[in-house]
C-alpha cells in the first residue's frame, strides 16, 4: 500500500493560523483497535483523495463518554463531555465528521446542552456529500456485482434516522445491495451497544452478534458492510463463529470505497 497519508492535527492548523474544513473525530476504537484503525486509514485516504482540508485532535482527543453514559455513569460522561467541549470550542470547531456512530450520536445529540454545538456528520453522510459535490468519484472496481448486505448500526439508524447514506454509497459501487430480514428501523443490534462491548453478555441461549450474523448469512452475501467499528468487530466475530470467514468479509463502507480504487 502506498503509505503516504496526510493527517494534520488541529494544533498544526492553528499554528499556521488556519481552520480546516472539518474535524475528523477518530474515536477510541478508530485510534486503538487494530481492525478499526484500518477503517480510519481508509477514510483518511478518501479524504486525502478528495482534497478535503481536515484535521484530527490527535492526543488532545478523548473518549466522548458514550459507554460511560450508557453504563449509567453520568458523572464520568459529563466530565468527558465538558473536557472535550472545551478543547473543541477552543479550536472553534464548527463541523465534525466521525466514523463511529456512538461518537456521532453523543456529540450531535448530547453535547449541545453542555455547550458543544457543532454540525456533526457520520462518515457515510460526509462521503455522500463529497460524492454529490463531485469532489469524490466512486467506481465499482472489484466490488462490481458483488452481493453486499448492510448492517444498520443502532446509533446511526434507529437512534438518528440515517438509513440511506451508506446504502447509496454501496449502490454506487455497482454492487448488488441485498437487505436482511431486519433492516433500517427494524435492524437488529449487533450486541455491542449500551456498553455491552466491554463486558461479557448475560446468560442466555445465544449471543446477539451470532443471531445478527445468521440474519446476514441468510441473504447469502459476499460482504457484510458495516458503518460502525463496534458492529464491525461483532459481525466479524459472528462470521468466525459460523466458520464463514473464508466466504464472507465484514467491511466498513469507507473501506469498500477505498479498496475499490486500490487506495
Amino acid at each position: 500500500m502506498s503509505e503516504t497519508i496526510k493527517v494534520p492535527t488541529m494544533a498544526e492548523y492553528m499554528a499556521q493560523g488556519k481552520q480546516p474544513e472539518v474535524l475528523f473525530w477518530v474515536g477510541c476504537a478508530g485510534s486503538f483497535d487494530d481492525r478499526a484503525k484500518k477503517i480510519t486509514k481508509a477514510f483518511v485516504k478518501l479524504l486525502n483523495k478528495a482534497n478535503v482540508e481536515f484535521a484530527v485532535l490527535g492526543t488532545e482527543e478523548s473518549c466522548t463518554g458514550d459507554p460511560a453514559k450508557r453504563a449509567g455513569n453520568e458523572f464520568l460522561f459529563q466530565m468527558q463531555a465538558v473536557t472535550n467541549i472545551e478543547v473543541l470550542n477552543a479550536y472553534e470547531v464548527k463541523k465534525i465528521v466521525t466514523a463511529c456512530p456512538h461518537c456521532f450520536n453523543t456529540i450531535k445529540n448530547e453535547y449541545p446542552e453542555l455547550g458543544g454545538n457543532y454540525q456533526v456528520m457520520h462518515h457515510t453522510q460526509f462521503l455522500k456529500t463529497l460524492l454529490d459535490e463531485g469532489r469524490l468519484t466512486i467506481e465499482g472496481g472489484k466490488f462490481k456485482g458483488k452481493r453486499i448486505t448492510f448492517h444498520d448500526p443502532c446509533y446511526l439508524g434507529r437512534a438518528n434516522n440515517v438509513y440511506e447514506a451508506p446504502r447509496e454509497l454501496i449502490q454506487k459501487l455497482e454492487a448488488e445491495l441485498v437487505e436482511m430480514k431486519n433492516c433500517r428501523r427494524n435492524g437488529l443490534c449487533c450486541g455491542a451497544g449500551g456498553a455491552q462491548m466491554f463486558k461479557e453478555p448475560e446468560k442466555g441461549d445465544k449471543d446477539v452478534n451470532v443471531e445478527r450474523t445468521e440474519q446476514a448469512l441468510d441473504v447469502k452475501p459476499e460482504i457484510i458492510a458495516a458503518g460502525c467499528p463496534f458492529c464491525n468487530t461483532m459481525m466479524t466475530d459472528g462470521v468466525k463463529a459460523k466458520e464463514k470467514e473464508s466466504d464472507v468479509a465484514v467491511m466498513d463502507v469507507a473501506e469498500l470505497i477505498a479498496n475499490a480504487e486500490d487506495l
Binding site: 497519508i5 493527517v7 477510541c28 478508530g30 485510534s31 486503538f32 480510519t40 486509514k41 484530527v56 490527535g58 492526543t59 482527543e61 473518549c63 463518554g65 459507554p67 460511560a68 453514559k69 453504563a71 449509567g72 455513569n73 453520568e74 458523572f75 464520568l76 459529563q78 466530565m79 468527558q80 465538558v82 472545551e86 450520536n105 445529540n109 448530547e110 446542552e113 453542555l114 443502532c154 434507529r158 437512534a159 438518528n160 434516522n161 428501523r185 427494524n186 437488529l188 443490534c189 450486541g191 455491542a192 451497544g193 449500551g194 456498553a195 462491548m197 466491554f198 463486558k199 453478555p201 448475560e202 446468560k203 442466555g204 441461549d205 445465544k206 449471543d207 446477539v208 451470532v210 443471531e211
Partner: protein, 437 residues
C-alpha cells in the same frame, strides 16, 4: 312503580361512573408520584404525534395482521359507543330507541346497520385475537412474564368484547318492532331466525335481558379498565402526546450532575462556600432510580399505558437471544410496584410508609438491567410511544452512581476512561500512532 327501572338504571349509572372516576383520580395521583419533567415544548409536534399514532394507529399497522384487526376493534369500539348514548337516554327516561323517533327511518337504519356490521367484524376480529393467543400461541404472548394474571387478563378482555357484541346483536334480533321496521337489521335479521317461534313475551324478555346485560357489561368493563392492562384505550392519547420527541439515541443529561461537574471544572468556585441565602440544596436525594418515585411521571404514565402486547420484547435483541431482559416486563413491574406504593399510601392516610421493598431487586433484577444494549428497538416498536429504555438507564444510573455496583468489566472500562480517556488501557499520548503504523 313504573319508574322503578329508570331509577334503578340511574343509580347503577351513577355508581358505575362514580367508581370509575374515583379510580381515575387514584391513577392520576399515582402518576404524579413521579418527579416532574418539562414537556411543555413543541406542542404542535406533540398534537401531531397524538393524532397520527394514537388516533391514526400509524404504528399499529406496521404489523399488518394485528394492525388491521386492531383498527377494526378500535373503530368498532368508538362508533358503537354512539349506540350506548341511545341506551343511556332510553334507560334514564324510559323511552325505547329514542333516536328512531326523530331520525328518518333510513338514517336510523343506516346507523344501526353500520353498528351491526361493525359488531360482527369486531366479534370476528376478537376471535382471531383469541386464537392468536391461545391456539397459534404467538411467542410474544407466551413469554415468562405472561403467566397467571397478565395471561388471564388478556383473555378476559376478549371474552368481554365477545359477550358485549353478542348481547348487542341479540338485543336487536329480539326487538320485534325493530325487526318489523326491517331497516338496519342487516346482521340481526339472520340471528332473529334462531329465535323464531318464540312468543312475543319471551322475545321481549330476552330483548330486555340483553339490553340490561349490555349496558351493565359496559359499565363493568369501564371499571375493569383500572385493574387491567386495557387502560391503553384511554391513556394512549396522553401517552403519545407526552412521548419522546428527541432522537432515540439522545439520552437526557442529568441536570444535578451538570451543576456538580461545572463546579468542579470552574477554578473560581469556592468549594467551601455556604450556599447563598434562600437557595435550596439542589443536589437530589438520589442519582438515578431505585424505586418508582425516582422515575419521571411520564415513565409512570408509560407504565399504566402499556397493554402488554409484547412488540417491544419481540424486537429486543437481548430477549431474542434468551436473556432475562424483557422491556414489557420492565413496564409491567413499574406499574405493579406503583400500584403497591399507591395502596400503601391509601392504607397510611395519604402518606407512604417505607415497606422495605423497591422497584430494583424486588421487581426488576440487575441481570435484566445489564442485558440491555440500548439499541432502542423497544422504543421503536411500541405502538403508543412507551420508552422502557429510559427506565433501564435511570436504574443503571442508580446502580453505578449510588451503589458503585456496575459489573466488574464495566468498572474497568470506566476506570480506563477516567485515567487515559479511552475505554481500553491505552495511553492518550498514543492516540495518533495509527498514522505511522
Amino acid at each position: 312503580m313504573e319508574y322503578l327501572p329508570n331509577i334503578l338504571f340511574g343509580i347503577i349509572l351513577v355508581l358505575g361512573i362514580g367508581f370509575f372516576t374515583k379510580n381515575v383520580k387514584k391513577l392520576i395521583r399515582n402518576i404524579k408520584l413521579g418527579h416532574d419533567v418539562d414537556v411543555s415544548d413543541n406542542k404542535l409536534q406533540r398534537w401531531k404525534n397524538m393524532v397520527m399514532i394514537a388516533l391514526g394507529q400509524s404504528k399499529m399497522v406496521r404489523r399488518p395482521i394485528a394492525g388491521i384487526l386492531h383498527v377494526i376493534v378500535y373503530v368498532g369500539f368508538i362508533i358503537i359507543n354512539i349506540e350506548v348514548l341511545e341506551i343511556i337516554i332510553d334507560g334514564l327516561f324510559g323511552t325505547h330507541r329514542i333516536f328512531s323517533t326523530f331520525l328518518p327511518e333510513s338514517v336510523y337504519g343506516f346507523l344501526i346497520g353500520s353498528f351491526e356490521i361493525l359488531a360482527a367484524l369486531v366479534f370476528i376480529s376478537v376471535i382471531i385475537f383469541w386464537a392468536r393467543r391461545n391456539i397459534i400461541k404467538l411467542q410474544r404472548f407466551w413469554k415468562a412474564e405472561m403467566t397467571s394474571w397478565p395471561k388471564n387478563d388478556g383473555n378476559l378482555i376478549l371474552y368481554f368484547e365477545m359477550v358485549l357484541m353478542t348481547l348487542f346483536l341479540v338485543m336487536n334480533a329480539t326487538d320485534v318492532h325493530f325487526q318489523e321496521m326491517n331497516s338496519g337489521n342487516i346482521i340481526s335479521q339472520h340471528i332473529a331466525t334462531w329465535f323464531s317461534g318464540l312468543s312475543e313475551n319471551t322475545l321481549h324478555f330476552i330483548e330486555r335481558a340483553a339490553w340490561w346485560l349490555h349496558i351493565l357489561g359496559i359499565l363493568v368493563f369501564l371499571n375493569y379498565l383500572y385493574f387491567s392492562k386495557h387502560l391503553h384505550i384511554l391513556l394512549a392519547f396522553p401517552n403519545t402526546y407526552y412521548g419522546k420527541l428527541t432522537p432515540k439515541g439522545q439520552f437526557n443529561n442529568v441536570e444535578a450532575v451538570t451543576k456538580e461537574v461545572k463546579m468542579m471544572m470552574d477554578p473560581n468556585v469556592d468549594p467551601f462556600a455556604a450556599p447563598p441565602e434562600g437557595v435550596e440544596n439542589t443536589v437530589p436525594a438520589k442519582f438515578g432510580a431505585s424505586d418508582v418515585q425516582d422515575l419521571s411521571w411520564v415513565n409512570l404514565l408509560n407504565a399504566y399505558t402499556c397493554t402488554e402486547c409484547g412488540r417491544c420484547t419481540s424486537e429486543c435483541p437481548a430477549n431474542q437471544t434468551g436473556k432475562k431482559l424483557s422491556p414489557r416486563k420492565i413496564m409491567m413491574d413499574t406499574r405493579d410496584r406503583l400500584e403497591e406504593v399507591g395502596k400503601n399510601i391509601d392504607a397510611n392516610k395519604g402518606e407512604f410508609k417505607p415497606d422495605g421493598k423497591q422497584l430494583l431487586d424486588d421487581y426488576i433484577t440487575r441481570e435484566e438491567l445489564w442485558a440491555c444494549t440500548s439499541c432502542s428497538a423497544c422504543v421503536e416498536a411500541c405502538p403508543v410511544s412507551i420508552d422502557p429504555l429510559s427506565i433501564i438507564l435511570d436504574m443503571r444510573r442508580y446502580l453505578v452512581m449510588e451503589q458503585s455496583a456496575a459489573p466488574m468489566e464495566l468498572n474497568n472500562m470506566m476506570t480506563n476512561i477516567e485515567n487515559n480517556g479511552a475505554p481500553w488501557p491505552y495511553n492518550q499520548m498514543d492516540r495518533l500512532n495509527w498514522k505511522n503504523e
